[in-house]
Symmetry: C2
Subunit: 589 residues, 2 copies
């Protein structure tokens, strides 16, 4: 029992900080009314009429009519998608009013295992961001189809669930539940037996009996609904529906059609970002940006705020965050307006500490001294040369029919395209004119030296090669190019610097971003990294690339769970059959 | 993992029971739409379109357009106030659609300790009523001012909290928190440290800093708001507000003014009964009656249903009850209409078992073989005679000024009245003409033989005496009468039969109801007991009593926590000073 908090709440001692002159957004009742908040230490002592808590030594802050909301909660985000290490990431989202996130740090786990995740969780402790850990339910997603740095079994997950900051398991894949995948069912059983832990779903396109089975198995949230109908269907079925606007899937506005202008209870809905690119974070913000979309769309102000605060807290059965009330964590945002035009995060407190004042950061977190398990994670078993990427032509063939995988331009979903390619010196040559490039994934944990190879379309690059050590769900090095030499150089450069993303053209590293942490993350600030990434992406665009965020697209093209085709270190994967295929289909002449 | 449930939910096996042709009341989204529910074992397998779950052996029930709601939850009720043992109580409330209750069994605890409570919880296991145990935070309320059969310390409470059916602690008294009462603060600390356990408040008239302190201390619900303003104030402060309509306090309609016609989020509000007399239960029902009040008042149907289902579940952080969704407990009510006039519980399922069919009970629970600790709880240390009740007059006094406590006619709140009484044979005589009767409480655990004595007004009884072994918060025998002989006979009769309530007049037991269980509860059915109680109350009314439920009033007049005056076995208690006083104030002549 915090005796001083009780004394302050009860009016016997003065508060540390009192915010007055605001408009309290009460997420319990959905009301907005004049008032303030009194803070004692890391907790809220009083809300509403708080003048009584002002005494000697109290810092009094005049909100000047700003709206006072709870700090925002992102119920589903992968910080790794920002390419920022956890400390600069924390700085970046706190600036936008986000004080809590729920995350599985899945990508860290894929590279460095639970030890790596624990190291990142420890790094975050130096920040003011409240991080709830949702234990990854699969590391990696497709162990039979990819090589990863680490893998999880139910025992690892069970132990991780015992952490006090663990709130459940994440990304329970619908088809795995339908197939009664034993490891996942075991973990779901573990969650069911632990009070206050939940199972987060990844229920793409699931409805009816399939959805019912996943819910009966214990899944209680899902962030994979794409349409308004799916959102409503999940909420009706007892699944907390996370409306998502990510850098790769911009579907929030259409999902909001489920509630706008309708008399629907929104308590089972929240807004999340899932994967948020550092360039978007730098340019448009975090949940504050999403709130503007919701307000623009016509969601009432208090309801919109509920969707990034108390609703998210309730989805995780958390009672100490997401609302302004005595005893809750003093996570508070002051926002300037209640319309899409005027909405802006002005000041932010996390655990009672002011971290943002009128848009300026009051805190800065130095880069962490990273645990050794997070560093030097790129190792080749065998040297990579131009020859490593050659796909052998059938003996004597001059021309072959090949399956090229094309990405859609707006989302990294792949589709097959039949093309004819020339054979040169016994291998199949790419054809820039037809937008058929080489693509490969190089195993980078020094385990087996695998190189998976295939052909890629949709990017429309015309020269050079790009490579990245970020690739779901194994984070081997993915490389795409117009020639083998640039591809080899790009891969070797990344291995040498411990991971990153680069463009090589004509035997020269044109642009490069370094990701020393797990080959995934940078210690730069969000703005610095966004500037480097902008240059890198611009250099790709100069070479014809029509995909604005080519590296994020590449990272999903290695995902053996995303239809219809993928490339992993095991080879060219048909996601529908879960088999590795030869991209060369037949000899034409 | 219930594999058959998953198979049924997923459409691979037929359901046990499928209800079709209803109107699903979806408490998640607040919608009502055509559909049904599929049941597998004790759980719901599907909701909405459930035709796919019908197969060979499935019992198909046509709801014929009835509304399908979750079984009702009473988040705060003392079953003992019905004077029914737990089994007939369960039968009585199930009939009205209530499938879950949260209760502290405080009265059992006062008489027979935690052992007695555990025995009653075990008795309930033979029923279909889902009982969540909220551990009493004080047994008895005022140990310095009353003698009880048992008392609790924080160690007993801590152990009880570990029970899987324990969901928190109950009746945390506001003034005790304000006074930092050490035992209570220790229990609140214990609750804060246990996931999924909550602290239920008893925060009479608390607002502002006092309320803030109680909330900061961890109190998360309260059922003691009387007005709409207090309801709203609690919800705004993060306290789940239980709107109460009890047999002793009929305040629901006025509390509903907080929300009717207003755009207030009601997720932090539920409807409870607290103390429900068996006569009310028999005559008007349980939460179904309260729902009619809410509908009559203009609460939208789905919102009203939420207030007796999901809202109550959320207040206790329970996720397996209170809603219709795959994997939830199959607690279901069919109700005939959605207006005050048409609303009626038609059929009820609890844990998948149908217990009510078109208003008829399908189950009957035989009286329990009570644990010995629940029986024979009335023992006198010394014989009780007419002399036991005499209040000595000051030496030589003929006429004295006395403080008589009067009850208000609509609520058992007492107020002082100064009266002059004659002295006869050295004691102070009552005066029926002035409506001043004798009242006393006789210690009945064989511990110290205490008899507390005072004068009572407000009942307007003109002859005889009534006695009861039900008296908060100690359940000693309370007796009120116009003469000492009838009082002694009434007390001795109750001691002899092991507890109950009776009216004695002219040396004859006119009416008597027997409560063999802890001196508090009957094994009769609700209807049988209500009939006996009606006769008993009618006999009191024939003797001038203007209080319709005199025994429930008496039971609260011994409560040393209820202003302004009380009678316990320690004596005449001034509740404001917490001191025992002499009712005789001065000699007039």
């Amino acid at each position: 029992m915090d005796k001083r908090l009780l004394a302050v709440a009860g009016g016997k001692e003065p508060a540390d900080v009192v915010i007055i002159g605001g408009q309290v957004v009460n997420v319990y009742t959905g009301e907005v009314y004049p008032g303030g908040v009194a803070i004692c230490g890391q907790s809220i002592a009083a809300v509403g009429d708080v003048d009584y808590a002002i005494g000697e030594g109290t810092q009094v802050i005049d909100a000047q009519g700003a709206f006072i909301t709870p700090g925002f909660i992102d119920g589903h985000i992968h910080p790794e998608s920002s390419d920022l290490a956890i400390r600069p990431f924390a700085e970046a989202v706190l600036k936008h009013g986000t004080t809590s996130i729920m995350t599985d740090l899945h990508e860290i786990g894929v590279v460095s295992g639970i030890e790596g995740i624990e190291a990142v969780l420890a790094e975050n402790e130096a920040t003011d961001l409240n991080l709830y850990f949702v234990v990854p339910s699969h590391v990696p997603f497709s162990p039979a189809l990819e090589t990863s740095g680490a893998s999880f079994d139910p025992g690892i997950i069970r132990e991780a669930l015992k952490r006090p900051d663990a709130v459940g398991i994440s990304e329970c894949v619908g088809p795995y539940i339908l197939a009664d995948f034993p490891d996942l069912m075991e973990s779901l059983d573990d969650v069911a037996g632990m009070k206050g832990k939940t199972a987060q779903g990844h229920l793409v396109e699931m409805r009816g009996p399939d959805l019912n089975k996943c819910v009966a198995a214990g899944v209680s949230t899902c962030h994979e609904a794409l349409s308004a109908e799916e959102i409503l269907d999940r909420a009706r079925t007892g699944v907390h529906a996370m409306l998502r606007e990510s850098s790769a899937a911009r579907t929030l506005a259409q999902q909001l059609d489920a509630i706008v202008g309708k008399d629907i209870d929104t308590s089972m809905m929240s807004i999340v970002t899932d994967d948020l690119h550092c360039c978007d974070l730098a340019a448009t913000g975090h949940l504050d940006h999403h709130l503007k979309i919701a307000l623009e769309k016509g969601v009432p102000f208090a309801k919109a705020i509920q969707m990034v605060t108390i609703n998210a807290a309730r989805a995780f059965e958390l009672t100490d965050v997401g609302a302004l009330a005595p005893g809750k964590r003093a996570d508070i945002a002051l926002v300037a307006g209640d319309t899409a035009e005027t909405f802006e995060v002005v000041s932010v407190w996390s655990r009672g500490k002011q971290v943002v004042d009128h848009g300026s950061m009051l805190v800065h977190y130095e880069p962490a001294q990273h645990d050794p398990c997070l560093l030097g994670t790129t190792t080749l078993l065998n040297p990579i040369t131009a020859d490593s990427f050659k796909i052998a032509a059938p003996a004597g063939a001059k021309r072959v029919k090949v399956t090229c995988m094309d990405t859609l331009p707006w989302i990294p979903i792949t589709q097959p395209r039949e093309v004819e390619l020339e054979c040169v010196d016994g291998y199949v040559a790419c054809d820039v004119a037809q937008d058929v490039l080489y693509i490969a994934q190089v195993e980078r944990y020094g385990k087996n030296g695998n190189v998976g190879k295939a052909f890629m379309g949709g990017f429309h690059m015309t020269s050079g090669a790009i490579a990245s050590s970020v690739g779901h769900d194994n984070h081997n090095v993915i490389v795409m190019g117009t020639n083998f030499e640039d591809m080899a150089m790009a891969v070797n450069h990344l291995i040498e610097i411990g991971g990153g993303q680069c463009l090589v053209d004509g035997g020269e590293v044109v642009e490069c971003v370094s990701y020393p942490v797990c080959g995934l993350l940078s210690d730069l600030s969000c703005e610095e990294l966004a500037a480097q990434k902008d240059k890198l992406n611009a250099a790709c665009a100069e070479r014809g690339c029509i995909i604005g965020i080519p590296f994020m697209f590449l990272s999903f093209i290695c995902l053996a769970a995303l239809p219809a085709l993928a490339i992993t270190d095991h080879g060219f994967v048909n996601v529908m059959t879960l088999q590795v295929e030869d991209p060369v289909k037949e000899v034409v002449e």
